[in-house]
Each structure stands twice: as structure tokens, then as C-alpha cells.
Symmetry: C2
């Protein structure tokens, strides 16, 4: 798959917010089936979390699957883990 600055910059832009980066990094370690807990951990409002999650979905970084009243979020772009690994070096 080759590099496309227009598309790829959107991915980086979506990751380029501290809350969204924490959400995604968190999903690499814990499962994402409890948004309320996410909200508590991040210290933000439910609405704000939902909006950030929507941005991450729209950009193709996360996908959501419903499970009763809960929604499970997981990382759907396999490049994201490598990007976050690269940050840690």
C-alpha cells in the first residue's frame, strides 16, 4: 500500500489530539467495551468522548460493534499500532 499525503495526513490529524491519542493507545492495552470507564479515566464528559470516538471512526482508525447497550471500540487500521510504537522509540 503506498503513501498518499492527502489521505494519510487525515489519519495523523485524527491521532493528533491528546485525548484521541490516549483513547487509541488505551485500546492497544485494554479492550474498549466500556466507554464509561474510558470517560472516567480520561476525566472528560461523555459527550466529548463520544465526539472524539466519532472522529476516530470517521477517519477509519476505530470500528465500533454494538453489544447490547454497550459499544465495543477497536482499532481497525493496522498501521496505527506501528505509528504508536514508533512514537515510543
Amino acid at each position: 500500500m503506498s503513501f498518499n499525503a492527502e489521505k494519510d495526513s487525515e489519519l495523523l490529524k485524527a491521532l493528533g489530539h491528546p485525548i484521541r491519542l490516549k483513547i487509541v493507545a488505551g485500546l492497544m492495552e485494554h479492550d474498549g467495551c466500556n466507554v464509561s470507564k474510558m470517560v472516567d479515566n480520561l476525566g472528560i464528559s461523555q459527550s466529548n468522548a463520544s465526539q472524539h470516538l466519532a472522529i476516530l471512526k470517521r477517519s477509519g482508525i476505530l470500528k465500533a460493534t454494538r453489544n447490547g447497550t454497550k459499544t465495543c471500540f477497536s482499532i481497525s487500521d493496522k498501521r496505527v499500532a506501528n505509528i504508536i510504537q514508533a512514537l515510543k522509540k
Copy 2:
């Protein structure tokens, strides 16, 4: 070096613009000692290029060294190459 969402999201945010991502990806392949050529290749104004370069400098992604009336830009954060590699996978 460990991951810091506040700081690292700034890096991704700076890369999260098509022009800036093109500049940085370009610097991985060609030397950056000719901003006029950069401007031509990107089809943007000199002022705009200079402003994007300033953002990339401020975020620590690029460093500039002067050489006469010209300025050479190069990538100063070693994680950046890995991030761009990760995008290509």
C-alpha cells in the same frame, strides 16, 4: 523514550496536514536546501511554505541550517521516518 500523549499528539498534529506531510516525506528522499523548488513542487506560495516549515521546526520535526541566503531543512526527530514508513505498510 516513553510515550507521552500530550507531547506526542503535537508531533502527529504537525504531520497531520497534507502540505507538511509532503514536505517531510520529500525531505526523506531529497535534500532540503532549496525551498524555492519545494514551493514549485508543492504549488503553494513562498509565504505559506515558510509558515508550514516554521510549524515543523517549532514541533521539533525539522531543523534549519543556514547556508548563505539559502536555508537547508532536515528531519531532526528520528521517530518521524518510522512513522512515515508505518503509513506505507
